[in-house]
């Protein structure tokens, strides 16, 4: 599956990349104060410095908080191609380095099955768009259901 999604066009350039066959979100690290941000940006939100560099973010973390998107989001901007809307979970996953990233959550039996503190891992999944195309998008899955490391 990893090979398949790696071949799909990403939902956006520069959002995530692959290292040794494993996906990573790409953020920015401020060379002045060390602050991480995601997605990449050209300046630091903490110190205002402009000396920032791309940084691969850790793949694993723990669920900081979550909710369930219970109704179909308005389209646009939502581009999901689901014929019949199915509620999905979203949340923030706290990673090493003082950053939590916002993400769709995947892999639990039901969208209400997530819990604060759950160990989570980044996965790249196909995302079917309402224009008929399929792209690669990121999500976090509970470590117990995430694909085992290669």
């Amino acid at each position: 599956m990893t090979a398949d999604v790696a071949a799909l066009p990403p939902i956006a350039e520069g959002l995530f990349g692959w290292q040794d066959g494993q996906p990573h979100l790409i953020g920015s690290r401020c060379r002045t104060c060390g602050t991480l941000s995601f997605p990449q940006q050209g300046s630091c939100p903490r110190c205002s410095g402009e000396d920032v560099a791309a940084a691969l973010l850790p793949r694993e973390g723990s669920l900081w908080s979550w909710t369930v998107q219970r109704f179909a989001p308005k389209s646009p901007p939502y581009a999901g191609g689901d014929k019949e809307f199915r509620p999905f979970a979203v949340g923030y996953v706290a990673l090493e380095g003082g950053i939590a990233v916002e993400s769709r959550l995947t892999g639990a039996p039901r969208p209400e099955d997530y819990r604060i503190g759950m160990p989570m891992r980044l996965v790249i999944e196909p995302f079917a768009r309402n224009d008929g195309t399929t792209v690669a998008a990121y999500a976090f899955a509970p470590l117990t259901t995430a694909e085992a490391p290669a």
């Binding site: 369930v68 646009p76 901007p77 939502y78 581009a79 990233v101 916002e102 604060i116 995302f127």
Partner: protein
């Protein structure tokens, strides 16, 4: 208490709700004329005006209806804090010595299911909206879920906030949702963003509020009991504040704009938590009211559970909160909500709040909060 330089001399409101056949500007003109009449003045007496609307047109076009007097009319737009920003601009216009008296007006009209922001307007890539993350409701669900986990707040308390809002709304002729709902009905309504249900959320609506603001030394010219605007403060977010539409956030929390704006308002007024007879805080949904009470320093984090259990925030309780039904009962016309809170506070401090009057109220506090992390607070007193 510090000496106040400003008095609110006129009040006008167009009832909140859904009004077919009326534009936001129509409602704003109605509110403006009501505020002028309340002060016993005409539009020609206004030396300046500040107007705010998020989605219902350009406020300064009202001059075609109110009269082309050449008055300087400034438009402001700051999301849900638009009313607070308008009040701040008006305060500064008088305190600076530029003007002596002016009109502040806030209005909006949103269709059912409004609020479909575009990522590019918020500095975000299209992917964020594509994935279904561009929803304010998610932010509210995520924030209260974490807060409940950290501070032991129950879903029952969320329901109590909404039930109180509808009860207070029932007593407010300018509110939209005036039918009381039980806590059980609120909890049983469909989930919108777990743990928040449909009846815990405010809905987009329409309405308008206007105020006449003047120098304190001119207060004796007006019939209504003078209510002083002791302070207004506004802040945007600092690093570490958890805000809507954030693809990432630091795990170390910083102060919220609500914390900083409220403290600045307290300092300027020389009044603070413990001094207020009633407060209005942003209640976009039930959880926001509870969290904002603590962020404003009006209770301890976690104390809300006991406040709700004992009815402390009811009219007649120790600290009445959102006495006009708040956003939950009034709906959210973005540009009008902040001034609605001030309108309600002035009515209460004048003793003109009718069935929902807080007996003997002399001091009040208002707080608005909006995307992308802004807050404006005000302190008022007799």
């Amino acid at each position: 208490m510090s000496e106040s330089k400003l008095v609110i001399a006129g009040l006008g409101i167009h009832p909140f709700g859904r009004h077919e056949g009326l534009s936001g500007l129509d409602m704003a003109v109605t509110a403006a004329r009501a505020a002028l009449a309340d002060a016993g003045l005409g539009w020609g007496d206004m030396q300046f005006a500040v107007g705010g609307s998020d989605a219902a047109g350009k406020p300064d076009t009202m001059v075609a209806r109110l009269g082309l007097t050449g008055v300087p009319f400034t438009n402001v737009i700051n999301g849900c804090a638009t009313g607070g920003a308008a009040l701040l601009a008006a305060r500064d216009a008088i305190v600076s010595g530029t003007h002596d008296i002016g009109l502040v007006v806030g209005f909006d009209k949103h269709p059912r299911g409004a609020f479909d922001p575009r990522p590019q307007d918020w500095g975000l890539g299209a992917w964020y909206g594509d994935l279904g993350l561009m929803l304010t409701t998610q932010y509210f669900g995520v924030k209260i879920q974490r807060y409940m986990h950290e501070h032991g707040i129950s879903a029952a308390s969320l329901a109590k906030v909404a039930a109180k809002a509808f009860r207070n709304g029932e007593r407010n002729p300018a509110a939209w949702r005036r039918k009381p709902l039980s806590e059980a009905e609120i909890l049983a309504s469909p989930l919108v963003a777990d743990p928040l249900t449909q009846y815990m959320f405010c809905s987009p609506s329409a309405g308008a509020v206007a105020l006449v603001l003047c120098r304190a030394e001119d207060a004796s010219r007006f019939a209504a009991p003078p209510v002083y605007l002791r302070s207004v403060a506004m802040r945007s977010r600092r690093y570490g504040s958890f805000e809507v539409f954030s693809p990432s956030l630091p795990t170390d929390r910083g102060p919220s704009p609500t914390q900083e704006a409220s403290r600045a308002a307290y300092e300027e007024a020389g009044l603070g938590p413990g001094d207020f007879d009633l407060v209005q805080v942003q209640d976009t949904e039930s959880g926001a009211e509870l969290m904002h009470l603590a962020e404003c320093g009006l209770c301890q984090h976690g104390e809300q559970e006991q406040l709700m259990a004992t009815g402390a925030t009811e009219i007649g309780g120790r600290l009445p909160v959102n006495t006009d039904g708040g956003c939950i009962a009034s709906g959210e016309p973005i540009g009008a909500s902040g001034l609605r809170q001030v309108h309600e506070t002035v009515l209460q401090l004048r003793g003109q709040a009718g069935d929902r009057q807080v007996p003997g109220a002399r001091t009040g506090f208002t707080h608005v909060y909006g995307a992308p992390g802004i807050s404006a607070c005000a302190v008022l007193s007799r």
